[in-house]
Amino acid sequence: MSSKALPKARKDGLVVRELPDEVLVYDLERHKAHCLNATAAAVWQHCDGETTPSEIAFRLAREFSTPVDEDVVWLALDDLGGLNLIESPVVREAGLSRAQALRRVGVVTAAIALPAAFSLNVPSASAAVCSGQCASAVDCPSSCPVCAGVCTT
């Protein structure tokens, strides 16, 4: 499985924080937060615009000390592209569908976790506090947009 695509990780407009086995990413443009597992984070960190997916798979294999199928990298690139964490989404020229790749990778990959990302639409201050069910202004900590119609009357 080969491709001439050279994925490049987006750097601008992001806040990144590394945890022991995960990477947190905050998208300042979309107010979305993402939590990448170790595999997705490793793929993302190798997206330097000069490395092919097959080379990334090779590097991951060295880092994780286990064989890493190129499909694992493509799955991660698919996720990262969907999260707007790749500058220009890379498209595989030919190959398996995502579902096929998942099934195949699930069989061949035992020692490395499948790439995964957990995302969150980060709420505004008032939405983080208020559920929108306020019965009165006393319930609501501010004249927030979530419940202004109820709270301020």
Binding site: L19, D21, V122, A135, V138, S142
Partner: protein, 268 residues
């Protein structure tokens, strides 16, 4: 919209809470004292200019008074019920600190202390946060807050004192309960976080928690964080510290007293 600058108010004060200054003025010193008494959290008198101001005006005869509270010079709330005015004022001041503080990251959460560590229960309104906080207090934990967990750079939670506020979506006025009336004690110290519990109420459920990863834990805290959008870097830093030093447990819960006992057992 009625605008008032507050210049004619006879009694004025500036207070500082969690690094933010708030100017408060009222027609009389007694009214000002009434407002100062209900400011939530830890605060101290301060001086200088305040970016947020409140001004309270009382009109009418003593038997038929009408109160108008202005926020930043604009009418915020108007009522004959002074208790209502005080409650709206207290909620607004607390929310202002939560939204704008630079020295703390505020998570909407109940917080109790147990054996020198904080148990943080994040959640939106009407998820049973105050009920579970009260159950933990009745089971012997100290009380830090039922509204906000102000978290510092070291991942410690500071107290946010205020009466426990029991709300129901179908009841207009919340019930305010001083922690002492539950047999509890207000914790005065900042505590390192020992446990984060995500436990929304669900009828008939039993609390069977599973541990979530630190990253997922941060995401849960971010979804209840008042400054996640405005200061995501600090939120990641402080909440990341919390979630890497304390387990984050998640499960829907049923009855609060039983859940509280199980939570405290987890911390033994």
């Amino acid at each position: 919209m009625d605008v008032r600058l507050g210049a004619s108010s006879q009694a004025k004060s500036v207070v500082r809470l969690y690094g933010r200054s708030v100017g408060i003025s009222a027609d009389t010193a007694d009214l000002l004292d009434e407002l100062l008494r209900v400011i939530p959290g830890i605060w101290a008198p301060a001086a200088g200019r305040a970016p947020r101001t409140y001004s309270l005006v009382a009109n009418g005869s003593p038997r038929g008074r009408r109160y108008v509270l202005y926020k930043d010079g604009v009418e915020f709330v108007r009522s004959r019920d002074f208790a209502w005015i005080r409650a709206v004022f207290a909620g607004s001041v607390g929310f202002y600190a939560a939204e704008t503080s630079r020295i703390r990251t505020f998570v909407h959460a109940g917080v109790v202390g147990w054996r020198g560590r904080a148990i943080v229960v994040p959640g939106r309104e009407f998820t049973g946060k105050t009920t579970l906080t009260a159950a933990l207090v009745k089971a012997g934990a100290t009380y830090l807050s039922d509204e906000f967990a102000p978290i510092d750079d070291r991942g410690r939670v500071h107290p946010f004192p205020r009466p426990l506020t029991f709300k129901r979506a179908d009841v207009q006025r919340p019930k305010l309960v001083p922690v002492e009336s539950l047999g509890g004690v207000q914790e005065g110290r900042a505590l390192p976080v020992g446990l984060v519990v995500i436990a929304p109420f669900a009828e008939g459920k039993t609390w069977r928690p599973r541990r979530v990863s630190p990253g997922r834990g941060v995401m849960h805290l971010m979804s209840n964080c008042a400054s996640a959008q405005t200061r995501p870097d600090k939120a990641f830093e402080r909440l990341g510290r919390v979630a890497t030093m304390a387990p984050v447990l998640q499960s829907a819960r049923g009855e609060a007293d039983e859940t509280a006992r199980k939570i405290l057992t987890k911390c033994e």
